[in-house]
Symmetry: D2
């Protein structure tokens, strides 16, 4: 018998020899989506896609290097809710965040019986298995970035989803409840019913911190970068991923590094360029791009105004499994 | 030989039979100190005790049930710093807190190169081995409660103390630095040089949380009780003890409980009574009292105004060693 | 514009509407591989595949429900090393275990400078990034089950691999070193250079525990099931997965349950049947089968002799990410 | 008013000025008790002290530097149980260990329904709140060292004690149960009812590890030192303290160091000298001595035979509270 005969014999029995290399997983490649496209697509969807044809009116990023999805772990889309519309109540194991691109005074995400106002730049979490719905009570459209760990959760076979019995859940807590119970001095008789409680990180506070630190050295690879921490533990935003915001000062250019985590960015303010393995990705406000694991990358703000990037990283998953590595890259 | 002969024989050799019970540790008993006395003593000290005769101008509580100190673990005193005075820079393993009774605009505690303003009701921590000094740049006296775990640290043989080379340490950080770096979104390139960073909990924020929760059920044993959490970990204020603040609503009367931790209280606002093992301890503003371990106690606000108690508990030490127990007491 | 026009427009821009469902990940389905096939394939490979044509002489399981591999997380193969052969030294981020099917007196796995003897039923770990090679110094072939988290590690973009400078690493530690330093009383001056140290779990000890517990109630879903614990932490065998061994007593039939983790089994002794979602998978010694996440399953030993299953579960990964769920299933 | 008048005025109100230093806690000083004395006292007690006059027939060490007890944290005594005697069943919050000086074939410590045989050199734990009693079913006396954290537990106000309803608790578990369920491969359906399970560390295993490591460099301050680890967690023997055993090779002389923990030693084999802050403490088999916190100390075996010291250290308590420090001392 020859090796090739053996290969055939094994194949018929769903076996394979080590010497006969199997195809690996598709590799995630860098990609950048233009806001103009996303926005136009979303506007059109607002006109031609009624809410009863889709659970959520969202436009998803499709990474051409993958059979489906944007990355192996984090899934990103942009959502539009028009005046008077409801995105109905449900819950799922995948943990989600909303980063508000365009807010409005009476637009709310409701999580576990509490309303969270949605103003531009706010970050709102709807952790693993929390009931949530959205409502736009203003007369302007609202839009936000949705980030979910649904690819990873699905990969591990742990994704479940349920619709709430009604379209909306009742409001059972006063406004600001989560902020109050997770303050620096905290009620000791109230325990969150979830290990990771829902939380709203207000832009005005985030921006105040960014501004206050503008004169600091900052992070050599990322400028003035802040991580949104879980108010309960001081750890990552959600158990599987963290959200971060970084300010690149006028003409700031960071050093290059690489790490075993995937990062998805959205330009929130200004414009600049991110160099990924020598390839330049130029971004303006609203553009979305992905840096795959272990790819060298650096950022540059080429204007005289601040540039701000919002991002989502699966670093907490890698770290929890003993798989996180990071190193500087000389270029 | 008789048992009594054996006892004598053993005693001469620094041995002892189990049947011949040795004296136990002195038991901590409840006690209440009146603010009028503390205040008058402190005023007089301000007149007759110059700063060069004492490192700190403080009046300590002396528990008559003990050979020295106030409790076995927590040590309490009240400090006065007059206009222009400096309480010179030092550090010690014992972790300390300051709870401001009377603040002033230019009075500061300086910790690890950062100034912390001292306004009435503020809590400021100077954790284990952090350099700290105090300065009163106003033209009014300032006063605060000092709380330290120095009895416990000394008992375990771990107390060390050092004077700074100068009277005051230099200011090396901008005002508000700690608040900024421990916000909800946090710089990831700044690491505290201490496991427990220094922190100022402003009264206006603490009071806002207390007020917001006034309609809640609260804690059955303690009313609207908040625990000051370590901004890094979400855990106890310091590794060995926690600070708490509780609001007793008009005429509120709590249920009785007991626990294996010592609590020291100071009445910050209003008046009321705490019943400890059937004995009534009536308190008014500024009074200080101690509830020893495993003594049943309940609180009552007998007025039509809010009453607020500040307290320090060694519960984190008991919990860390697997020794914490708590139970309701029917009375 | 129609929805279908919009879909096309979006597709051209690598975008997608939520209403237009993208293909999900391929689902892992149950499958059983017969030992007779595996063994015959391995024997033939021993004849026709020289070691210089393949790094390792292993036969891998191919799950027909997936484009490649056996499960999304754990990868299984069976390895043959003939007398005098060396499987050369390398290391990789993926953590591996060896479960010995056929041992021999002078066969060794060498990990980080320590020889681990390979006797039937022994489990040997080569954790994340530890140098390892294998050598068969006897005159009989040796065979074992290889288990790796390489699919999961690759999915997260964290897989790296290096060859050692020579074919074999030098032996630098005395035999039994790991067992000695991880005993019940442990040297405090030796720290493992890896968070998870390599370890050999001898079959004679494992079997003694299984035997001693034969009269116990056992686990209702799994009989007398033991988890191999990390000798340092008492936690899972490796950070991402655990190995387990379970004895099903004569005629024992377990209750059904399901959980959000994948389990791969090899029948080590005896024969029985595992019912997965109503489908019967009959197994005899050496057979390998997979139970995908959230599939109801129960085991039955239909003989009058003990049956023993060795298994690998990715439960620790699901748990570390807050994704583990388990429930009984009534059938 | 003068300062001295103020001091008097304050004293009458149970207050004290910081300038008027209060007495500190008594300092623990080194001391050594000779085995000849302990043994003779215990023998005499066996003759003149009946079991109904004393719960336990033990001789306690009395440190002359303290008003009571041996150290501030650990309490040591030596116990004698004569043939046929029972030390009746009770439990207490203080965690205890027994280190067997003289065992016998039918002597047992019973903990939570399980019998633990008592052979020379065995260590048996009876953790916090576990029922335990002792029975000597042989026709020879048995003796052991008792170590408890009762001083520390009492200091924190957490000590409770209960007698069992009968003199002895029933045996409800098979011999060797704890060893089996805490093996390297562990039943996952059995959970200890205590965070720290009772455990017997057999001398023959401990000695095998000591012997195997005799050629190692060892710990520069302590020779071949092993820490008895909690079989559940891999951490300290009990939450508040650890037991350790160290072998000093013929003529071995260690370097000096000091640390913020108290250590109590008993010479188990051989003879030597421990130098504490320049003072020599010569010890022979059975002698007991104490090294207080932050005192420089080094050990020397001056014979040509091995010397073995058993010890108990409160280091885990100091570490849990952030108070542990250690440093080498040049002498």
């Amino acid at each position: 018998m020859q090796m090739s005969d053996l290969d055939q014999w094994l194949k018929e029995r769903n076996l394979n020899g080590h010497w006969n290399r199997q195809p690996g997983l598709p590799k995630v490649e860098p990609y950048l989506w233009k806001w103009a496209d996303i926005h136009e697509g979303l506007q059109t969807a607002g006109e031609v896609v009624p809410m009863d044809k889709t659970g959520r009116r969202t436009i998803q990023m499709r990474n051409p290097s993958l059979p489906a999805g944007m990355t192996h772990t984090i899934h990103i889309s942009v959502q539009l809710v028009k005046p008077g519309e409801i995105a109905r109540a449900h819950r799922h194991v995948a943990g989600a965040i909303r980063y508000v691109i365009k807010g409005a005074p009476n637009a709310f995400t409701i999580v576990e019986g509490e309303r969270f106002a949605m103003e531009e730049g706010d970050l709102i979490t709807t952790p693993n298995w929390t009931w949530h719905d959205h409502f736009n009570g203003s007369n302007e459209p609202v839009m936000w970035l949705d980030g979910l760990d649904v690819r990873l959760v699905g990969y591990l076979g742990a994704q479940f989803q349920q619709n709430y019995v009604k379209e909306q859940q009742p409001i059972e807590k006063p406004d600001g409840y989560s902020t109050k119970i997770h303050g620096r001095a905290r009620p000791n008789w109230i325990k969150s019913t979830h290990a990771t409680p829902p939380f709203r990180y207000q832009w005005k506070e985030t921006y105040a911190t960014l501004s206050a630190l503008k004169e600091s050295d900052g992070n050599p690879y990322d400028g003035i970068l802040l991580e949104y921490v879980n108010p309960f533990t001081g750890g990552s935003t959600l158990p599987t991923y963290s959200c971060e915001i970084q300010l690149l000062r006028p003409t700031e250019k960071t050093r290059a590094h690489r790490h075993t985590s995937t990062v998805v960015y959205q330009a929130f303010r200004g414009e600049g360029v991110t160099v990924i393995e020598g390839q330049r990705y130029e971004w303006g406000q609203g553009d979305i791009f992905v840096v795959p694991p272990w790819r060298s990358h650096s950022h540059e703000n080429r204007t005289s105004a601040d540039a701000i990037l919002f991002s989502i990283t699966d670093r907490p998953s890698a770290a929890a499994l003993g798989l996180y590595r990071e190193e500087a890259v000389e270029v």
